[in-house]
Amino acid sequence: MTDRMTISLTVNGDAVSREVSVRMTLADFLRHELGLTGTHLGCEHGVCGACTILMNGRTARSCLTLAVQADGQSIDTVEGMADGDDLSPLQQAFIDQHGLQCGFCTPGMLATITELLNTNPDPTEHEVREWLSGNACRCTGYQGIVDAALAAAKTLQGKVP
């Protein structure tokens, strides 16, 4: 019977505890309460994928998840990917392969491809495209993003410099 609740969760490896309104989405929690504005909101009804984050290692729409549902869970966002100034191999591949232009869709793309490469380290182009069906990009035409995913897969497997 409550409209406010205290939640404790892990965000990018750090323990976080906050009192939130129960109707706050996880996306708004990350952006407004924690200042992690890398997670973007496009449609707020589940179709664009810009808000995709990792919850316990699996991608989820943060616009369709309530902050209170993340209580006790582990969340990873784009802010946790780089090691200081060193970009992750996937982030670097996006730059090298022109996987972004405006960058609005990029955090969601990175989250999706992170889960893909964790579950399937050597995906085919078709598999990459199937995974990306849940993330819209209005700039790149996707080719650069697909190339980045495939290049990152190679780097992570130590096949290419």
């Binding site: 019977m1 409550t2 409209d3 609740m5 129960v22 109707r23 989405t25 708004d28 449609c43 707020e44 009804h45 589940g46 994928g49 995709t52 919850m55 699996r58 991608t59 989820a60 729409r61 616009c63 369709l64 998840t65 309530l66 209170v68 549902q69 999706t112 889960e115 893909l116 199937e130 995974w131 069906s133 849940g134």
Partner: protein, 291 residues
């Protein structure tokens, strides 16, 4: 595009959830949230009380009963997709799951949520119709079983009272060696189907059709079983011509007209999807089966 105010409840047990359903004003169950949250963000739905069933362990189990499979309502679509048991014993469900939305939505979305939301184009209700599934419903008043054929009461209206919830689904399994096919047509992979068909086929030792089940989705307001086609196929020797004839009956399903497709177009698609699903099921029954 934010959900309107509500009170939030997070029961730990089915009993507690049913108690809340019975006593709270204007309650709504929150499962995977992949359909409910968009509707709340759009303010199509504004429940006073949200009952989050995500932490009820009893609803998240899949049980192998030998000749049946019992799946808890809160089992996530992606967990079912990964289930070796489902892959081996119920290939139709596995094939249908791969067409439900995207990885990101399947990671959260549940089997019970899909059945309760009952989108006209949802894959799982049609697959479960071809499988003759039974749905287990609970409330403080008791429990009841609903045959999948009695589940849809109208447009996006499941056979559920306000104080009831879906707790599990039982699927009677077909013998090993049967074939399954699920084919749908959508503009993009992951979109809802404009028409799709679920097909189950078992052959006799002499190669004739011993048992067959067909259901279409996306054409009418709910899944539709193709009894006429099944009657034409039973006992016959499978052939392309026979499948084509039987599939024609899918063109008689009362169709929906909407922005995505006209009724006539959906019916045409249903015929083609049925032919393809039958061919897929046959190939699997004739030895593509790896179980």
């Amino acid at each position: 595009m934010k959900p309107p105010p509500f009170s939030y409840h997070r029961p730990d047990s089915v009993d507690e959830a049913l108690g809340l359903l019975a006593t709270l004003d204007d309650p709504k169950i929150l499962a995977g949230g992949q359909s409910l949250m968009p509707m709340m963000n759009f303010r199509y739905v504004m429940p006073a009380n949200l009952i989050d069933i995500n932490r009820i362990d009893d609803l998240s189990r899949t049980e192998n009963g030998g000749e049946t499979l019992r799946i808890g309502a809160m089992v996530r679509q992606r967990d079912l997709e990964f289930s070796d048991l489902v892959k081996a014993r119920c290939p139709l469900l596995h094939a249908a799951l791969l067409n439900v939305g995207h990885v990101q939505t399947r990671n959260r979305g549940t089997i019970g949520g899909s059945l309760s939301h009952l989108d006209p184009a949802a894959e799982l209700p049609a697959a479960l119709m071809a499988l003759d599934a039974t749905l287990h419903v609970g409330s403080k008043r008791g429990t009841r079983d609903v045959a999948i054929t009695d589940w849809s009461m109208g447009y996006m209206t499941p056979n559920l009272e306000m104080d009831e919830m879906l707790t599990a689904i039982t699927i009677p399994l077909w013998p090993a060696g049967h074939g399954a096919g699920f084919v749908e047509f959508a503009r993009r992979h992951g979109d809802f189907a404009m028409a799709g068909t679920a097909a189950m086929l078992a052959l006799s030792p002499s190669g004739t059709i011993e048992r067959v089940a067909l259901a279409v989705t996306g054409v009418d307001i709910g899944p539709v079983r193709l009894h006429d086609a099944e009657a034409m196929l039973a006992g016959q020797t499978p052939s392309e011509a026979l499948f084509a004839d039987a599939a024609q009956t899918a063109g008689a399903v009362p169709g929906l007209d909407d922005v995505h497709a006209s009724k006539a177009y959906r019916r045409k698609l249903a015929i083609v999807m049925t032919k393809r699903a039958l061919a897929q099921a046959l190939a699997q029954a004739q030895g593509g089966g790896d179980d």
